[in-house]
Symmetry: C2
Subunit: 542 residues, 2 copies
């Protein structure tokens, strides 16, 4: 009997059919490697939820076999779930210097100690368990981003991470078995613009502006921050940093040498007013219109240390992430109302994407020439379009695999196939609760959010089964009560009628009584208002 061919399994636990909570498990020779550990921000209908992380039941079950978490770069959708994951499975973490600097800070914030953090340089390879793992430099909107190659006995598994091909093309890999490549911008024709175009725009603006300049961007976009610093020092402006995450990233990136700020350029926020307006540049968070961010607080005059002046120039150096368009508009309008000169994405080239466009993806495919391909990091449409792109590039359809979170794909050098799924999904984090808010709770929150609540309370005598107090009605979020006394009085009479009826018919079962009250009040209120509040009958007993 011939020896079976070496195999490798790929188990995506997040990042497919969504942009966020990236996490992919590679299994080789019984050992598990986890690529990335990201979070995703909640959808609108996940009311009250703070963040969403991948379901890691599979990792918990296979704890002993995990050799490490390999991080491609330091963005939240790649590292944001780490504190939650490490609490369940404390395994070594590997990543480049800046990535690990950001991770260290994050773990400290969450009070996590005793985690083995390993800094790897791109271009280096190391043995983790039985496999050689290589971190390969790629260009992305954060420095020190990498693709990852795992040399398994079945062949090389190559994961692109997030990348754009800018000035430094990736070095080709030979004999790649499987490529997983990001798909974010696959629908965009051509090439992504170079970060340099943004630098040129900054130069233009800094040259022609006499007022203070405030630039809002992603805290994690260290390249962008560098460009702002460059423009500022070129035009002799001092730089000041505002917003908690911005301050942190600037500190970490500067300490590790990823951000070069000339001596005496950085000033403290409290010293801003000691310099003339044309000598000041302020870098802040809030480019997504986040309600509590520095820029939002500036726009509503609730920033503790800074105040906008009319004539200030505010540059929003980002485009809104889908879903954030309205909040960004709100901040832009608020800034215009303060008399500020606002430059946002519609008005100038002040942002470029960090993700590869169509032609760059083709370049990646041509360079790596993998035997098998699985698109990752995208909504379903992106994955599908990326699969089509691979097919148009000449790859056979049977070599292209459309995965999904929880899928188990097994490859050997001859082909790939799907094995039975493992558990995967979303875990909602709300305050300290991880996973204790599920569909029922969300459904109730949605119901409450739409038409509010009616509580009907009454006290019943244990002996006689008669109502001895109430019914009382309390409402919240339904109508403005003072103007609706008549409606509420009539509702109360309605409840009484139901209770009388129950008494007459000798109905004493609480559940039945509650149901009848709920249904009667519900249809009465709907008829009168066309609204469906949540109705909560409560019976007390004495």
């Amino acid at each position: 009997m011939a020896k079976p061919l070496p195999k490798v399994k790929i188990i995506p636990l997040g990042g497919l059919d969504e942009i966020g909570k990236n996490m992919t498990v590679v299994e080789s020779r019984g050992e598990l490697f986890i690529i990335d550990s990201g979070l995703i921000f909640p959808e609108d209908e996940m009311l009250g939820i703070d963040i969403v992380i991948p379901d890691i039941s599979f990792l918990k079950k296979n704890k002993e076999r995990i050799r490490g978490i390999l991080l491609t770069h330091g963005h939240e959708d790649h590292i944001g779930a780490l504190p939650y994951v490490l609490r369940e499975v404390n395994v070594p973490v590997y990543g480049t210097r800046l990535t690990m600097g950001l991770v260290e800070y994050k773990l400290k914030e969450h009070g996590l100690k005793n985690v083995k953090l390993n800094v790897i340089a791109t271009g280096e390879s190391l043995m983790i368990g039985k496999s050689k793992v290589e971190f390969i430099a790629v260009n992305h909107s954060i420095p020190d981003a990498s693709a990852i190659a795992i040399h398994t006995d079945a062949g090389i598994v190559f994961h692109s991470g997030d990348f754009k091909i800018d000035h430094t093309p990736i070095i080709g890999k030979k004999g790649v078995l499987l490529m997983m490549c990001e798909s974010t911008n696959v629908a965009r024709e051509g090439y992504s613009m170079s970060e340099r175009t943004v630098g040129a725009t900054f130069d233009d603006i800094f040259m022609s502006t006499k007022s203070r300049i405030i630039v809002a961007t992603f805290a994690s976009n260290v390249h962008r921050i560098q460009q702002i610093v460059n423009a500022a020092s070129k035009f002799k402006r001092k730089v000041c940093v505002s917003g908690r995450s911005m301050v942190n990233v600037v500190r970490v990136a500067q300490e590790l040498g990823y951000l070069k700020i000339p001596k005496n350029c950085l000033i403290d926020i409290k010293d801003v007013n000691k310099y003339p307006d044309n000598k000041i540049a302020i870098i802040t968070t809030g480019s997504q219109g986040e309600a509590m961010s520095a820029l939002s607080r500036l726009s509503s005059a609730s920033h503790r240390q800074l105040e906008l002046k009319p004539k200030d120039t505010v540059i929003i150096s980002a485009t809104p992430i889908p879903g954030n368009e309205k909040s960004v508009s709100r901040v832009v309008n608020a800034l215009f109302k303060k008399g500020v000169n606002v430059i946002y994405d519609e008005l100038a080239d002040i942002h470029v994407s960090g993700h590869a466009c169509k032609e760059e993806l083709k370049f990646m495919h041509a360079l790596i020439k993998p035997k098998f391909f699985m698109p990752v990091h995208g909504e379903f449409r992106h994955l599908k379009l990326h699969a089509q792109l691979a097919s148009e590039m000449g790859m056979k359809d049977k070599n292209i695999f459309m995965g999904h979170n929880g899928a188990v794909l097994e490859f050997n050098r001859n082909g790939g196939r799907f094995l039975p799924n493992v558990q995967a999904g979303k875990i909602l984090v709300d305050g300290l609760g991880v996973g204790d808010v599920g569909n029922i709770v969300l459904r109730d929150r949605k119901h409450l959010s739409e038409d509010g609540l009616i509580v009907i309370v009454m006290t019943m005598s244990k002996e006689t089964g008669l109502i001895v107090s109430g019914p009382d009605i309390v409402s919240r979020g339904f109508v403005y009560v003072r103007e609706s006394e008549k409606l509420m009085d009539e509702a109360k009479r309605n409840v009484k009628r139901v209770l009388d009826n129950c008494e007459k018919n000798n109905i004493t079962d609480w559940t039945t009584i509650k149901t009848q009250v709920r249904e009667s009040i519900s249809s009465y209120l709907y008829e009168k208002t066309k609204r469906n509040p949540m109705i909560l009958p409560i019976i007390m007993e004495i």
Copy 2:
């Protein structure tokens, strides 16, 4: 003493600092003319609200002086509030044929009778009260759109309506005192693309597609519907219409001659399967990802009469309105998952805006050459940029007026000035309630939506002041109760301690007891969960 100069007043009641609920009052010689009467869709934080209309207190107070409502065109942000407005002030309505056809249908839906509807042709003028009113044809995404000129004794007041300069340039007006011009696309450079580019794309797609073609677009975009019909009949496809509003608009527009559909081209939806796939084109609603629309129902296989087949081609002929990006993505992804070929805005030129871009606005300014200018129909940033554009075109800053909803601007031939504001704002419509949901109710809905609700009920003896039943705790939308029994038990003990304490200290005032219970439970739960549910203590008395 010299006779005072004739004056005209402009009172915007909606449409400034927002795109939607357009309504502007023009007052001349004591008479009021209302231009448009639109609605706006609620912001995310207006939980449970269906639509938002302008506050018309000013109109109600001045009912006797209103001479009519003049409609520029039949879009919801210009006619959607009509049923609500007419219920309060039943005045004659004027508009072009298609506009009035759509209005008629809308009023019938709302059960409104006895409204004087007057059909006016563009190019015509008529006397309304003491003023000559002219409707001037403009090009927009709905046919029969018009600008409106009111000839007052102070001069001509010109309102652009919504327009783009496409093939039929507007005829210049001489001696315009004041121009109000829309600002939607002022941030977009150059010219809007011609609707013809969309026609060309349709031709390409229809020519190369062998499957069924389903096109989703705005029901009100009659030009677009015409182009789809043209492409379909050119390539010998039957056309079928799905979605309530689409069916209505097609019927009205066809009856009035604004939509030309060749004989035997239109088929009933139930006959779709009688034709080969390459002989079918379906026009539907749902281009904004609306949850209950025909396209959403198709994508989730819950359409009663139609079912998508793999290989069908779905064209989404629209771009998402800000705020709808996520729901459109959701539908696109769902369609891709059904194996359907989806063509959306990123992938082909299947939509053009109906609003004038920067160069077209300049053209309008150059053509009309008004003495005074007020930007309308835009968020604050658009109004501001439009004012800047006017200034760059050479208009003196003192002749440019940045209005706001509720402002009263008075003009004579020498200048304009602001008089004291009138009441203006938003009226929220929720079910049958118009204006009965205000800030308190919305605040409660928001609170409930974020962390849910804890109801604490207890029965107190009137004689002794002692608790004779309870406290009981009921929660909704807070945690999954079955998994949190310990937390709730501890909360109950916490309430008991507070009650005992109150008893010990002879506190019998209900308000004080409730406050103490609320505060104690609130801080207990926050400490344990970092959540802030609404806490509703209810005391019953026997």
